[in-house]
Each structure stands twice: as structure tokens, then as C-alpha cells.
């Protein structure tokens, strides 16, 4: 069985990497399908997960939605998409997005919903608005789980982007599927090896991101300053103005914490 040797020879020959149908171009195509689908999944799943996790309303929707989406066969959606909308980037993006949404939605929702309610209450009683509770307390705390969901989604999408080749698109699936079709198994193996390498690489990067994002670990030098100290510092460093600018970034705390009354008008 020297398919492996043949495959490695193919990969390590410079002439196979150049050109519009070379390995380099196929890897870029593969990354393009993956990147677009991951981005669209994140744009759909993360806001929904944040809202449902924060309000606690619609949890059942997440559970049933995640299960139902998972049960949809990606290949069927892709090929149906091609028949309905024609060739192009749309069918693989839709099919792969449907694959990426469940883990991202589940991760985001679980991350936000599992933030210690005492911490959330404390943040609220400190006078944070709901938006601030979400962005400065809940999201940083939930970050490892959100990124974990992103990791799973990316992994599944990069692995499954291979099937785009079946719908006459590019990507590393070209080698895998064409190799099988013309019984050149070492070519199929080239595709298999490179997809695996790509998946391992992306997974390692995202695993590192999850590790870095652990809250309180100090692995991530936060550009976001500590919220409470930050607010106090700003109050102290700014001379009191007649019309405090509480609009936008610095909303007035409910009940009027550093309220106009204190400053005498």
C-alpha cells in the first residue's frame, strides 16, 4: 500500500502548488468557504444566544432549534441549494452556516445562562445598565464557552466544506472527490491529509484562544478597563459639569448614583 507515499510525493512537489487549480489555490478556496460560513454563523448565532441567555426567555427555542438544525443533512441542503439557486458561493454558505449555528448558539447561550446570578445581580446593583451587564460582565465571563462553540463550529465547517467540491465548487474536496471518482486514490488521500492538517491547525489556534480567554486568568491583557474602577476614576478625574454628559457611553445609574443632586443642582 504505497498510496501514502504517492500522496506525500504529490504534496511535496512544488509544481502541484502553483496555478488556479493548484494546492495553494484550493487551500485558499477551502479557507474562504470556511471563513464565510463561520462568520455568517457567528453573526446569526451569537446575538440570538446573547439575547436568550441574558433574558432567559426562549431557552426551549434554543434546545429544540439546536437539535432540529443538527438533524438537517448538510449535503442535502447543499445540493438542493445548487439546484434551486445555481452554482456559486450561496449554496455552500447556507449549508455550512446551518452546520455552524447549533454549536455556536448552544455555546453562547450556555455561557451567558451559566454566569453566576449573584455576579449579575451585583453588577446590576452597582448601577450597570442591562447593556453593560451583558457586555462587561456576562460576555467576558462566558467567553471561554462562546469561543468553545466557535471552535466546534469551525471544526465541523472546515471538515464538511469538503463536500462543496461535489457541487462543482473548489476547495480541498476537489482532490478527495475527484480522486475517488477517477480511482486515483493517492489524489483522494492528498485531499484527506490536507483537510486534516487544516482542521488540526485551526483547532489548535482556537483552543489557544479559549485558553487565553479564561476570565481571571490574566492571560488576556484586557484592553477593556475594569468597569467599576473605570467609572469611579472618570467621575473623579472630570470636574463636575453643569450638564453632566450621561448620554452614550456613560449612562446615569438608576436611582441617580453620582446624581445631579449630589453635585448641587
Amino acid at each position: 500500500m504505497n498510496f501514502l507515499q504517492q500522496a506525500l510525493e504529490y504534496i511535496f512537489s512544488a509544481e502541484n502548488w502553483a496555478g488556479p487549480a493548484g494546492l495553494g489555490a484550493r487551500i485558499l478556496e477551502h479557507l474562504q468557504y470556511t471563513g464565510v460560513a463561520v462568520a455568517v454563523s457567528a453573526l446569526i448565532a451569537i446575538p440570538i444566544g446573547l439575547i436568550i441567555g441574558h433574558t432567559g426567555r426562549g431557552a426551549l427555542l434554543v434546545v429544540t432549534g439546536v437539535n432540529a438544525l443538527r438533524a438537517l443533512p448538510t449535503l442535502g441542503i447543499l445540493l438542493l441549494g445548487v439546484l434551486l439557486w445555481g452554482l456559486g458561493l450561496l449554496p455552500p454558505t447556507v449549508a455550512l452556516t446551518l452546520l455552524g449555528v447549533p454549536p455556536l448558539l448552544a455555546g453562547t447561550y450556555a455561557g451567558i445562562a451559566n454566569v453566576d446570578p449573584n455576579v449579575v445581580d451585583a453588577a446590576r446593583s452597582m448601577g450597570m445598565t442591562e447593556a453593560r451587564v451583558l457586555t462587561r460582565v456576562e460576555i467576558p465571563t462566558a467567553m471561554p464557552l462562546i469561543l468553545g462553540g466557535l471552535r466546534t463550529a469551525t471544526l465541523q465547517i472546515v471538515a464538511t466544506a469538503t463536500v462543496a467540491a461535489y457541487a462543482s465548487l473548489g476547495g480541498l474536496g476537489r482532490y478527495l472527490i475527484d480522486g475517488i471518482k477517477v480511482r486515483q486514490f493517492h489524489i483522494a488521500l492528498v485531499g484527506a491529509l490536507l483537510v486534516t492538517a487544516l482542521a488540526l491547525l485551526l483547532d489548535a489556534v482556537l483552543a489557544a484562544a479559549v485558553w487565553v480567554s479564561m476570565p481571571g486568568s490574566g492571560r488576556l491583557r484586557r484592553r477593556i478597563p475594569q468597569p467599576l474602577v473605570d467609572d469611579e476614576m472618570r467621575l473623579e478625574t472630570q470636574p463636575p459639569r453643569r450638564t453632566p454628559d450621561y448620554s452614550g457611553r456613560d449612562p446615569a445609574p438608576p436611582g441617580g448614583g453620582a446624581s445631579p443632586n449630589v453635585e448641587g443642582w
Binding site: M1, A68, R70, P73, G76, T160, T162, V163, I180, L200
Partner: protein
């Protein structure tokens, strides 16, 4: 819908193949992962090694593994056995990480009570700790079963049987109704299997129902 009604017998035959390819691995994986997970549970180094290997296996794309397996084990390329072995590996990889975590989650008081009642370490594992980890196993099994059902259909692009063949056939013949029929059957199949696993989990943990949910 019409396509499905006109091809019910084919649908049934393909469903059986599909279930065989996706569920035998679930059963095999469960049979490997539970003892393996319980064995490495108390050994820090072995547990780390298992977790690491499992994550690595889980990262390998399934389609790639279907193609690459004949290099590692003596099967023919495009053999059904490749699919079963590959999906068994995935199932094991996913569950073997969950088992020690589920065992960790058994409360210390329960453990103490069990040993006070005179359970040996093995007896305690089999009769107290593993039953209490069923909910975690059920959660893992649900993900893995539904994922396997979807993965087997992807395998049809490299000539693996099952309901996925309706996708490739329908695509080549430009028959969207055949593809829609395939999606419907696979969707219903996945939801049904999911339900069966949930129900089995409930039947196996009767104590969970007696405790009022707070």
C-alpha cells in the same frame, strides 16, 4: 413528498442501511468508551493522554478518515467497514471525555454514603457512580447519534450507501424532489433516534423523575 410516497420501499431499504452505518458505531463506541473512561478516571496521566488522543481523533474530518482508514487497517477502500470504524472512533472520542467528567460530578456525600453502606470500590462504580452519570452519557449520545446520521449521508459523495444516495442521485438527475425527500427522511430519522435516546435515558434514571424540579 410525492417522491417519498412513490419510493417507500427504497426509502425503507436505504433507511436500514443508513441506520446500520450510523448506529452500530454508537453502540460500539458506547461499549468502548464507558469502560475506558471509568478505567482512566482515577489515573491522572492516563486520563490526560486519553483526553488528548480523543480530541485529536475528533479533529480529523470524517470524510478524510473514510478515505484514509484503509491505509491504517486492512480494509478495502470504499468498504462499509471503514465507515463503521471511523464513526466508532468519533463516538468513542466524544464519549470517553464525558465519562470521567460525569464520574467527577458525583457528589462526595453520595460517594461517602455508598462506602458507608459497604460497597466495594468496583461495586460503587458499577451501581452508584456509573448510573448517576447516565444523564451526561445521554447528552453525549444524542449529539453523536444525530451527527453520525448526518455524516453517513455526507459519505455518499465518495460512494457510501444509505439515504445520502438520494442526494447524489437527485443532484445528478436534477430532481430536487428526490433531494427534498432525502432531507425529510434523514431529518425525521435523526429526530426519532434522538427521542428514543432521551426516553431510554429517562427509563434508566427513574430516580430523576421522583425528585421535584426546583
Amino acid at each position: 413528498m410525492n417522491y417519498l410516497l412513490n419510493h417507500l420501499d427504497t426509502a425503507w431499504a436505504l433507511t436500514l442501511i443508513h441506520l446500520r452505518l450510523s448506529l452500530i458505531p454508537v453502540i460500539l463506541g458506547l461499549m468502548i468508551a464507558v469502560p475506558l473512561g471509568a478505567l482512566v478516571w482515577r489515573h491522572r496521566a492516563l486520563r490526560r493522554l486519553t483526553t488528548f488522543t480523543a480530541s485529536l481523533v475528533f479533529t480529523i474530518p470524517s470524510l478524510a478518515l473514510f478515505v484514509a482508514l484503509p491505509l491504517i487497517i486492512p480494509t478495502r477502500i470504499l468498504d462499509e467497514a471503514n465507515v463503521i470504524v471511523a464513526l466508532t472512533l468519533y463516538t468513542t472520542a466524544l464519549l470517553v471525555r464525558a465519562v470521567p467528567e460525569a464520574l467527577d460530578a458525583v457528589p462526595g456525600s453520595v460517594r461517602d454514603a455508598a462506602s458507608a453502606l459497604g460497597y466495594t470500590r468496583v461495586g460503587q462504580l458499577l451501581k452508584v457512580e456509573l448510573p448517576l452519570s447516565i444523564p451526561v452519557l445521554v447528552a453525549g449520545l444524542r449529539v453523536v447519534a444525530v451527527t453520525n446520521i448526518s455524516m453517513v449521508s455526507v459519505g455518499s459523495v465518495i460512494g457510501i450507501g444509505g439515504l445520502g444516495t438520494w442526494f447524489t442521485e437527485g443532484y445528478q438527475a436534477d430532481k430536487s424532489d428526490q433531494i427534498v425527500a432525502g432531507i425529510m427522511v434523514i431529518f425525521v430519522l435523526a429526530i426519532l433516534i434522538d427521542l428514543i435516546i432521551v426516553l431510554a435515558g429517562r427509563l434508566l434514571t427513574p430516580w430523576a423523575r421522583r425528585v421535584p424540579v426546583t
